[in-house]
């Protein structure tokens, strides 16, 4: 009995102080221990997600071996961008915008109220860029040339994609540096933690600067397709729209992901942070409401500026109004109502509507309002393999997020030796 108690205290102290890694051998042993699953493996989520992920990996190998086109994808010369670019890359990166927005709020505006969720949001952003920007390998025809923008052999400096490639790479590094103090705390590396903590503000500023350009850069990718994108969506200000919408897209995903994390990882979160969570969500809802208000009127002004108002009286016009009113204006007012009454259910539902709206908006630009005049029978629809691969990428990211949250001080308090080093 006494022996059991000592073992529990040892484990608690080790978790509180970090492991004692004095050599590479120690590190390997620690990593082997951490790689073992914690808790029950046969959960419903694991049973459903694992076969999808494994099937997706097989299809990824098929795609890399046999190329784009049937049977792996339904992409054609008329619809060269489909679900992978439209959802994984463009939408996924918009949702990762929560990282730079929250970093701006916490580290630049010094709103400490949001500090408890910063680590989870930065981790989310890092993993989103890693998986979704990494999914670009699947999207390009000659995937073995993916490193060309980095090393030369035809940089492609005339393409917006050159900027996007470099920015994604640099932002991944910035997000990793922002998250690295957490990794150092997990490994118990005090001196490294101190150095990495000093780099945080610089990485944050660098990350925010990068994000403003590549979030709008994804919109700039559409600028060349003026004759192909429906006039209701096409405007010279697409980059601005993409940047502004990335703000509330990221924060909405932060609200959505945070509500799930609070339920799933609840035992890790201390009482103080549990109590402050409602206030945090209400604050994020206000920011979303304000941004969406501005975005809605930006859309209205651009509609007039581009002489596109007559197009509203058409099928695509109704689709446009469905997107803008149903998934921008309605959630905007739901955020206002939820924030006024501090009703978290309303706010969470508004966040879900916003997320759906962003997906709809990005897919409209990629293949719905793109070549919109093509008959329905010749339009692009995602192939089953594309859907499975997309699902496997998302689920892999969720598994990586879960692995890291269960082992590193993301939601739980950092070790005592690190707390006084924060800020």
């Amino acid at each position: 009995m006494a022996g059991e108690k000592l073992e529990t205290v040892d484990i608690v102290e080790e978790k509180a102080e970090g492991p004692s890694i004095k050599s590479f051998g120690n590190f390997i042993d620690f990593l082997k221990k951490e790689l073992k699953p914690k808790g029950n493996i046969a959960t419903p989520f694991n049973i459903i997600s694992l076969p999808i992920m494994l099937l997706g990996y097989v299809f990824i190998v098929l795609r890399l071996a046999y190329g784009l086109g049937k049977p792996v994808t339904n992409l054609t010369q008329e619809f060269p961008w489909g679900l992978w670019i439209g959802f994984d890359v463009v939408t996924g990166v918009a949702f990762a915008g929560g990282g730079y927005v929250l970093c701006f709020i916490v580290y630049v505006l010094r709103a400490e109220k949001y500090h408890p969720i910063i680590r989870a949001t930065v981790l989310n952003a890092f993993l989103a860029y890693l998986f979704y920007a990494g999914a670009i390998v699947l999207d390009i025809g000659r995937w073995w040339n993916i490193y060309n923008p980095m090393v030369g052999n035809s940089f492609g400096v005339n393409a917006v994609m050159f900027l996007v490639a470099w920015h994604f790479f640099l932002y991944m590094l910035a997000a990793l540096i922002e998250f690295s103090p957490t990794i150092a705390e997990w490994l118990g590396m005090r001196r490294v933690r101190k150095i990495l903590g000093a780099l945080t503000l610089g990485a944050v500023i660098f990350g925010i600067t990068l994000s403003t350009l590549h979030q709008s850069g994804l919109g700039a990718l559409m600028m060349m397709a003026k004759s192909k994108i429906h006039p209701l969506w096409y405007t010279n200000f697409i980059p601005i729209l993409y940047f502004v919408s990335s703000i509330f897209a990221g924060l909405s995903l932060t609200i959505f992901e945070g509500s799930i994390s609070h339920k799933v990882f609840g035992p890790q979160i201390d009482e103080e942070h549990h109590k402050s969570y409602d206030d945090i969500v209400v604050g994020l809802a206000r920011i979303c409401a304000l941004t969406m208000f501005g975005y809605f009127f930006l859309k209205a002004i651009l509609l007039v500026h581009e002489h596109a108002v007559p197009y509203l009286d058409s099928t695509m016009g109704f689709w446009y109004l469905f997107e803008v009113i149903g998934f921008v204006l309605v959630p905007c007012f739901m955020f206002v109502s939820g924030a006024q009454q501090k009703n978290l259910s309303t706010i969470k539902f508004a966040a879900v509507l916003t997320i759906v709206g962003i997906i709809l908006n990005r897919l409209n630009y990629t293949f719905i309002a793109y070549n919109w005049y093509v008959p329905l029978s010749e339009r692009y629809w995602p192939a089953p393999m594309e859907l499975v691969i997309t699902a496997s990428i998302i689920l892999s990211e969720v598994w990586a997020f879960r692995w890291m949250v269960n082992r590193m001080p993301v939601l739980r308090k950092p070790p005592a030796w690190a707390i006084e080093k924060e800020h």
């Binding site: 004759s227 304000l290 208000f293 009127f297 007039v304 500026h305 206002v336 924030a339």
Partner: protein, 40 residues
């Protein structure tokens, strides 16, 4: 091909755009007050 060379008068809508922007600025004040208003 002709579509790529369509010219339109961008000043034709300037009056409407100015009105919308003035309306946005006024509505922003109302919206802000509404956002921070305590519920009844």
């Amino acid at each position: 091909m002709e579509e790529l060379f369509t010219y339109y008068d961008m000043f034709a809508t300037k009056g409407d755009e100015y009105l919308i922007i003035i309306a946005v600025l006024v509505l922003m004040i109302v919206f802000w007050k509404f956002l921070y208003m305590k519920p009844y």
